[in-house]
Every structure is written in structure tokens, then in C-alpha cells.
Amino acid sequence: MVIRVKNLVKRYGNLVALDHLSLDVKEGEIFGLLGPNGSGKTTAINCILSLLKFDKGDIEVFNKPMTPESYDTKRDIGIVMQNVAVYKELTVYENIDYFCGLYVPDKVKRKQLVDEAIQFVGLEDYVKFQPKKLSGGLLRRLNIACGIAHKPKLIILDEPTVAVDPQSRNKILEGILELNRQGATIVYTSHYMEEVEQICSRILIIDKGKAIASGTKEELKNMITIGEKITLQTYGLTPEQISAAGNLPNVLSAEYNGSNLVIKSTKGKNNLESVLDFAKQEGIQFGTIYSELPTLNDVFLEITGKELRD
């Protein structure tokens, strides 16, 4: 087990930031920590890293209790924080070399590692630049390079893609997958469910400091009753037609807002077909029709009754 957290409780005064949170991260996986802003993701990470005092609970990293003095453990951890943490006076190269040097004293080895890191995040053309001359996306990449240059076995990325352009974001996500392929265990926190869905092999959803669901994305989606969501763009439906749509086989609910008819059904093979048949039968004219599989947002919605997005 790479990380094991048991019954972690952290209070800020009256506010309970983490409420008996438990989680396990296995070797070789990409573990996603998903939750809305303020749900306790960063707090959990800071507790795991022994930066924050917590009120209750046990934390083990690489099967050893984590303390501020666990230097051998720390040597194998790489962290990419939410805020860009680099020295504005140092160049790209110097920044990476400085932070890498805290882990790897050997100069020759370090030079190689730093070069690899620069290549990895694609900052070769900016080696001599000072951070203030980098755009937001490039700055994020530098931030990542500083965290992973020493080739850690465990990499924790805390919202590494906040305020990043799509191009840099894809580069970052690809990079994370690549790091994982090279053997690193990844902990990835985000409030973007698409990202988490895209790269994580196992996901923990938290809200208000509590773990509310965990598993692979398929497992998570299986937890909820909705299997498919079909949307028809159409006008002028009668109440009878709507309730008739609700009574189709496998259908859980049918909602109409004047222009879109949303039909949610359980998992099944012929849901779309039966809806199409129904439309033909009733003579409903529609502009577009599409079918969606449930997202993590639907999972979150069903469990907490609120949307994951703001």
C-alpha cells in the first residue's frame, strides 16, 4: 500500500474539514480525488504530507507512519501544488535544479534528471527564462517539473490544471499518464470530473470532508440507477405524451422543459430504439436526439443531491 489513511479528522475551529476520511492508494495506480471546491482535497493532501496538524486518525506512506522527519519516505514523494511555488529570481533551469537538489545531492546525476524533467514538460526553449516571462500554462509546467524532477515513486498532483489553456492541459494529462507508465503511483486531485474520468484508474469522491463513494469509474457509475440519458429537442409536447414517455420500458423518469425532453432510463440495450419508436408512434417532430452515458457528475448528483460543478 502506498498511502493508507484511516479515520482522518481535521477541524478548523467549528468547521470540520475532514470527517473520518479513509483512503488507500495502491502501487501503480492513478488515484483520483474528486470533489467540489472546498471539499477538503487539499487539506487531505497536506495532512498526508505532514504539513498540517490533524485531530485524529492514522496516516501511513509506504507502509510507514508519516512524520515531518520521515526523510526516507519524503525522498520518494513528489508534489505538485495548487499554487505555483517557484523562485521568481531564478531561471527555469535553476528552479528545477534547486528543488531537485534538495532530493538528489549528486551533481552529475542531478543534471541528467533536470534535463529529463525539462524535456518531459517541454520547456526546452525556455531554460534561461525567469518565471515572470512565462505564460500561465508554461508556469504550471515548470511547477510540475520542480515537483517530479527527482523521479519519485509517488507523485501527488493537487489541481495541476487550474487556469490552464486546453493545449497545456492535454500536455499535462498526457505527462501524468506517461509518469504512471514509467512506474510512478499517482494521486490526482481535481474538481474537473472529465479529467479524473479520463486518466484515473480509481476514484474517491469526497464532499464536505467525507468520502462518499469510491471505485473505478465503471464501478461508480454502476452504483447509481441511471444507465442512460436520452435527450430530444422538440416543441409542443402535451402532458399526455410526456407521461407516456415516462411509462416506456426501463424508463426511470421523463422531464420536459418546453424544448428538451430528457428521458433517464436504467441500463439496457434498446433504450434509444424504444424512444425512437415512441416518437414515430406519437408523430413527434424532433430537431436533434442524443444519448449520453452517465458521468461522475450524475453520480455526485444522485448521492449528494447537488451538482459537482459550481
Binding site: N46, L52, V84, A85, E89, L90, E94, Y98
Partner: protein, 369 residues
């Protein structure tokens, strides 16, 4: 690890323009202004002659000696007066218009009319007093031999080996101020080691480096840069501005180094104690240093003495004053006892700063970030 951290800290701090400005450029500029303003005082360069008038009446024309002496001191390169010989009405007018500092009427004793009291007026009076007293004596003895006049009888024995110099106190407090502006370095060091202060610090806290060691290594870089800056200031003072610190230059150096350590450490403890934004911390440090320098007599040397007379405890609790005092007593006393007293107090301050900082910084987990 020491070399790695030390080297990169040097690079960082050296490029931190704001800190470099306050800790080096600003004292250099201030020193230049001091020198410009004070250069003339105590120098041999003469004050400009004083504008005076003498009333051209019968008495004046009859008093040959007065006439001769007055003309003598009003001619030549080194004259004291620019003399006008005018009627009483004109003299009054000139005085009213502020064109002369005063006018003289050759009565016995001589009458001096002025519009206000002031340094120039006083010089005229002293001159006239001296003239009359000497001429009274000369008349009494019908003196022929005036050679003895003006022979110096006083011999200045300076208080220590160094030349007495009115500027020195200004420069001493300037050095002390520069030392305490070093607190900006200490401030930054703590900001970048306390994980609840900056994300860079959080990153360092996560690294497998002993936090206290990392902190001490980078403090060393701060001390180093600041001491180099102060050396530049000293060299500038001595070689360019020609400030004479006397023979005890080694002690001045030692004091400066201790001062630097005190300043940087002071910044560290303030930064560790006050958990507010950086801007506020800087404001507190700069204001505190400035007020302490003011109380140590940087703007006005007399302030220093009113403090030590009225609130003596304050002069011992003001670290900038301790530094100024140390430098001053170095110049003032033959014996070093007072110097060492100041240095001992300063060292105590440093130790308090260090222990305080240690107890705050050694904590490695935070209640909130």
C-alpha cells in the same frame, strides 16, 4: 547540501531588487546626501561674508582705529564682512529690507542695531566686543606692541585618538540603520521556510531536507550578502566620502558585522511572530527601523541625548541606538568598556531573536496553511 542551498539563496537574494535597494542603495544614497549637507560644517571653507553697514557720522570718522580695523576685516579673500558705509536713514532702510544683518553706530560703547537675533548677528557682536575690549586695554597701556594679540592659548586635546568630527554620529546611525534594514532579508528567509507563509516553503517542507538546517543554511546566505553590502557601504564612506572612522577600523568592522546579524535576525523573528501579509510585515520593519534610527539621532543628534537622559531604559532597549552607541563610544572613549557593554547587550538581543525564531520555526506541522 549546504553549498547547494547557500549558492541558490545567494542567487535569489542577489536578484531581489527591492531588498537590495533598501539594504544597500538607499543607505548609499542617504550617505551621499548626508555628506552633501554636512560637508561644509567643520571644514576650513569659510562662510560667506556677512552683510553689514556702519553709520557714516562724525564719531565714526573720528575713530580712526575702529575705521581701520573694520576696513581690514572687510577686505580680502578671508573677510568677515561686506561693509557698506551709509547714512543712518539708509542703514535703517537696508536693515528693514533684510539686505544687511545689522548696522553699527560708532558710539562708546559701539551700538549694534539688528532686526532679529541669529548666528550672523551674534558674530558681529562678538567681533565688536572683542574690538572694544582690546582697544580699551590698548588705550590704557598706550600699547605699541600688538603682536601678542591672537596668539592661541587653547590646545584641543581630543577625547580619543580619532579626530573629533561632527558628522560621525550621523554616519554611525546611518550604518546602524543599514544594519537593521537587513531585517528584510530575515523576513524573506522565514517567509520561505514556514509552510503557512508561502507555497515555496511548503515545497521545501516536503523535501527530505532537515527544515532547521535548510533555514540556517539560507540564513547564512542572507548574512553573507548583507555583510558584503555593508562592507560596500563602509568602503564608500571611507574612500569616496572620506569619512574618518579613526584608527579603530577593525572594531567598526566587527560592530557592523554584529549589527548585520542583529538586523537580519530581527527581521526573522518579526516575520515569524507576526502572521500577516508580507506588505504589512515590511511596513512594520521599515517603520520600526526608521523610528529607532530617529531615536538614535539619525536626523538630529540631540534626540539621542534627550532619550538617554529622560528615558534611559529606552536607549538600552533600542537596538539601533546600541549600535550607534557602540560605534560612537569606539570613537569617544579610550577604554573599550562601554563599547563591550553595548556589544554584549546587542549580543543578548541576537540570542533572544535566535531563540525566539527557533521556537517558532522548529515547529514542523501547522494548524492551518
Amino acid at each position: 547540501m549546504f553549498v547547494h542551498i547557500f549558492r541558490y539563496r545567494l542567487k535569489c537574494l542577489f536578484k531581489d531588487k527591492v531588498t537590495i535597494f533598501w539594504t544597500m542603495i538607499f543607505p548609499l544614497v542617504l550617505a551621499t546626501f548626508f555628506q552633501l549637507a554636512l560637508a561644509n560644517i567643520g571644514n576650513n571653507e569659510r562662510f560667506s561674508p556677512i552683510e553689514v553697514a556702519v553709520v557714516n557720522d562724525e564719531n565714526y570718522n573720528n575713530n580712526q582705529i575702529f575705521k581701520t580695523v573694520l576696513n581690514e576685516v572687510s577686505t580680502g579673500e578671508e573677510r568677515i564682512f561686506n561693509l557698506q558705509t551709509v547714512t543712518l536713514e539708509n542703514a535703517a532702510r537696508l536693515l528693514q529690507d533684510g539686505e544687511i544683518a545689522g548696522y553699527m553706530v560708532a558710539e562708546t560703547p559701539v551700538r549694534l542695531v539688528v532686526s532679529k537675533s541669529g548666528l550672523r548677528q551674534n558674530i558681529i557682536k562678538i567681533f565688536l566686543d572683542r574690538f572694544m575690549q582690546t582697544s580699551s586695554a590698548a588705550m590704557a597701556v598706550r600699547a605699541q606692541d600688538f603682536d601678542s594679540i591672537g596668539k592661541e592659548v587653547l590646545e584641543e586635546v581630543s577625547i580619543s585618538k580619532a579626530e573629533p568630527n561632527i558628522h560621525l554620529n550621523y554616519f554611525y546611525s546611518l550604518i546602524a540603520m543599514a544594519c537593521f534594514y537587513g531585517s528584510l532579508f530575515g523576513l524573506r528567509e522565514v517567509m520561505e521556510i514556514q509552510a503557512d507563509n508561502s507555497s515555496i516553503a511548503a515545497r521545501i517542507n516536503i523535501a527530505p531536507t532537515h527544515k532547521l538546517k535548510a533555514f540556517i543554511y539560507s540564513m547564512c546566505a542572507s548574512f553573507f550578502i548583507h555583510i558584503v553590502e555593508l562592507l560596500i557601504l563602509l568602503i564608500y564612506l571611507i574612500l569616496v566620502l572620506k569619512v574618518d572612522f579613526g584608527a579603530r577600523i577593525g572594531y567598526v568592522l566587527l560592530t557592523t558585522i554584529i549589527g548585520s546579524i542583529a538586523g537580519v535576525s530581527f527581521g526573522a523573528i518579526v516575520s515569524a511572530l507576526i502572521k500577516k501579509k508580507e506588505g504589512l510585515k515590511i511596513a512594520i520593519l521599515i517603520t520600526f527601523s526608521m523610528v529607532c534610527s530617529f531615536l538614535a539621532g539619525m536626523m538630529m543628534h540631540s534626540i539621542k541625548y534627550s532619550v538617554s537622559e529622560n528615558v534611559p531604559i529606552l536607549s538600552y532597549l533600542n537596538p539601533v541606538n546600541l549600535l550607534t552607541d557602540a560605534l560612537y563610544s569606539l570613537h569617544f572613549f579610550d577604554s573599550l568598556s562601554r563599547y563591550w557593554l553595548n556589544m554584549a547587550l546587542l549580543t543578548m538581543f541576537i540570542l533572544v531573536f535566535w531563540f525566539g525564531t527557533y521556537f517558532i520555526v522548529r515547529r514542523r506541522k501547522y494548524a492551518s496553511i
